[in-house]
Symmetry: C2
Subunit: 332 residues, 2 copies
C-alpha cells in the first residue's frame, strides 16, 4: 500500500470548527498524512513558506496565507490545493495550472446559502414583511402602502449565470417565474437547459425583479452603469449579492434616494459599509453585512466536500468541485 | 339557446377592483345576466334579502352580507354561491347543501399567498435577515449572535394538511426538507402522496421548525397547549399563519418571554393586536398584521377563478374550487 499523501491543513483550530465537521476531520486523517495547525492562530506567509516543501496537498480556508509564485517554486511535490471557502483567485497564482496542480473550491456549496438569502430578501420585500414587522413592533397595524406582490408568475432578470444564480434558479422552480438572464458566456443551449431566456443586460435591468450574481472580475467592474440603473422600472426590486464593485456607486446612491424602487444589498464597494452611508437611512433598502454565503450548515459542509473531491480525484473518479484553467478568467 | 342565469354580484365597486380583473368582469357578463352593485358601498342584509328571490347565482367577497336561513327560504332559484375570498363558514348556512346549492370558494388560491409569506418569514428568521437589516440601518455591521442556518435539509413540523400547508409544501420542494405533518384526517396514503411523514402533534411540536396551518374550528381552539409550547426545542422557529385561537395565548406569551425560540405570527386571538401586547417588544418575534393571504395578484385572481369554476360546473366539467358538504366541518 502506497504511503499517504502529506496534507498541510492550514486553518486555525478556531476556523476549523466553522468549516470542518468532526466527520470531515476524521476523513482527512483517514486519507492523508494530515498536519494540523495547532498554533491557536492562522499561519503567517513565512511559516507556510518554511513548510511547503513537504506538502503533497494543501487545504485552506478564509484567513489562510496565499501561496505565492515563490512558494510554488519551493513546493515540488504539491499536487492538489483545496479551499474550504469560495474564490481561489487571491489564494494561488495562475501558474499552478502549468504545474498540473489540481484546485478544488467549495464555491458551489456556498452558492446554496446565497440563494436562500436571495429568496428570503426577495419574498420579504415583495410583501413588505420586514417593514410590517418594524411597524408592529412600533405599535402599528395594517398599512395601505404595503399591499404586496406574489413571486409566483413574476419575471426576474438575472445578471450572470454564476453558481449562486444557478442555485437561486433551483429554489425558484416552484414559483413558475419567467427568467431573463444576461451572461456573455452562456450559450443558447445552456440557457434552454437552465430554463431561462438569454437576454441583454439592458433587458435584464428592465425587469420588475433584478438579481445581480456577477463574478468579481476586472471585466465586471461598473457594468451596472448609471444608464442601466436609471432604466430600472418604478416599483422594481433590485438585489445585489455578488460584489459591490459591479455597480456604479454614485449613480446607485442617486437612484436609491429617489425611492423609485426597492433594493437589497449584501455587498458594498467598501466593507464594512461606512457608518455614514446614505443607504443606512433609506427604509426601502434592505441591508445585510456580506453574510449571504454564511450559514452554519453551509460553512460546516465545506471542509468535507473538499476532502471528498480530492479523494475522488485520487481514485480517478469524476470530481465535482474542481476549478479548471478554462474558467479561471471568467469566474470569481 | 337557454337564457343566461341571473347573477347578483355583491361586492362594491371598490372591493371589486381588488378581487376582479377587467377580464373577469367581462367573463361574468359573458356567462351570466350579471347584476353589479353600483351603490358605492356594500349591500346591507335587508337589501340582499329584497333581491335574493331573483338570483340563480350569488357572488360575494370580503364585506358582503351573509346569506341567512331566512333569506335562503326566499331564494327558490338559487343554484350557486361563489365567494371571491376565503372561508364561507359565516357567509352561508349549512342548509345550502340540503338544497343542492353548489358553493365555490377561492381559499385554495389565497393559500399560495400564505405559503409565500411562510417561506419569506422562515428564510428571514433562519438567517436573521430582518435583524441584520435593522442593525445596519442603526449603524451596525456583523454580529456573531446571528450566525444563520440553512433551510435546505432541515426538518419541519406542520400542523394540519390544509390548503396553505399544501401550498407551502410545494414551495419547499427544492429545499429537500423532511416534513412531519399532524392532521387527524390525513391518511397514510395521502401523507405518502404529499411526501410527508404522518406524525403526532407532540412530534410536530418538537421539530426545529414548526408551522401551524390549522383551520379555525371549535375542534382546533387551543390545541397548541401550554405543554406543547413548553416542548418546542430551544433555538426553534415557530410560525402561526392560521388563526390565533389555536394557541394557548397565556402560555405562548410566557414561552416567548423566555427568548428560547424565535417565532412569527400573522394572526392573533384578537385583531388588531392590542397596542400594549408584550409581543410587540420582543425582537425575536416577527409580527405581521394578518396579511399573509393578501397579495395584489393573489386577490385579483379570486373573482375570475370563481367565475371559471362556476362555468365548469354549468358545463358539467370537473370543478376545482367547490366546497363540498363532506369537508364543511373539518375545513376553515
Amino acid at each position: 500500500m502506497a504511503a499517504k499523501l502529506k496534507a498541510l491543513i492550514l486553518p486555525s483550530e478556531q476556523r476549523l470548527e466553522d468549516v470542518f465537521t468532526p466527520e470531515a476531520i476524521a476523513e482527512a486523517d483517514k486519507h492523508f498524512d494530515a498536519v494540523w495547525n495547532r498554533l491557536g492562530r492562522e499561519y503567517t506567509a513565512d511559516e507556510l513558506a518554511a513548510m511547503i516543501g513537504e506538502a503533497d496537498v494543501i487545504i485552506t480556508s478564509w484567513g489562510s496565507p496565499s501561496i505565492t509564485e515563490e512558494m510554488l517554486a519551493k513546493a515540488p511535490k504539491l499536487k492538489m490545493v483545496g479551499h474550504a471557502a469560495g474564490t481561489m483567485k487571491k489564494l494561488v497564482p495562475k501558474a499552478v495550472f502549468d504545474r498540473g496542480i489540481k484546485l478544488f473550491s467549495a464555491n458551489k456549496r456556498i452558492a446554496l446559502s446565497v440563494a436562500e438569502y436571495c429568496l428570503g430578501v426577495l419574498l420579504s420585500q415583495l410583501r413588505y414583511l420586514h417593514s410590517y414587522n418594524n411597524s408592529l413592533h412600533a405599535g402599528g397595524w395594517k398599512n395601505n402602502d404595503w399591499y404586496g406582490r406574489e413571486l409566483t408568475g413574476s419575471t426576474i432578470g438575472i445578471v450572470s449565470a454564476s453558481q449562486t444564480a444557478r442555485a437561486f434558479l433551483r429554489l425558484l422552480a416552484p414559483f413558475h417565474v419567467k427568467v431573463k438572464l444576461y451572461d456573455p458566456y452562456l450559450t443558447e443551449e445552456a440557457a434552454a437547459e437552465l430554463g431561462v431566456e438569454k437576454a441583454t443586460l439592458e433587458q435584464v435591468m428592465q425587469c420588475p425583479i433584478i438579481s445581480v450574481h456577477a463574478p468579481n472580475l476586472p471585466a465586471t467592474k461598473g457594468i451596472i452603469t448609471r444608464e442601466l440603473l436609471e432604466s430600472i422600472p418604478d416599483g422594481a426590486i433590485f438585489i445585489n449579492s455578488s460584489r459591490g464593485d459591479v455597480v456604479d456607486e454614485a449613480a446607485l446612491l442617486e437612484q436609491l434616494a429617489t425611492g423609485r424602487f426597492q433594493a437589497a444589498f449584501d455587498v458594498y464597494p467598501k466593507e464594512p459599509l461606512k457608518a455614514d452611508s446614505p443607504m443606512r437611512s433609506l427604509n426601502h433598502v434592505f441591508l445585510t453585512p456580506h453574510i449571504a454565503g454564511a450559514a452554519i450548515q453551509g460553512h460546516q459542509a465545506l471542509g468535507g466536500l473538499i476532502i471528498e473531491d480530492m479523494v475522488r480525484n485520487m481514485n480517478g473518479e469524476p470530481t465535482q468541485h474542481e476549478v479548471k484553467a478554462a474558467q479561471w478568467e471568467i469566474t470569481a
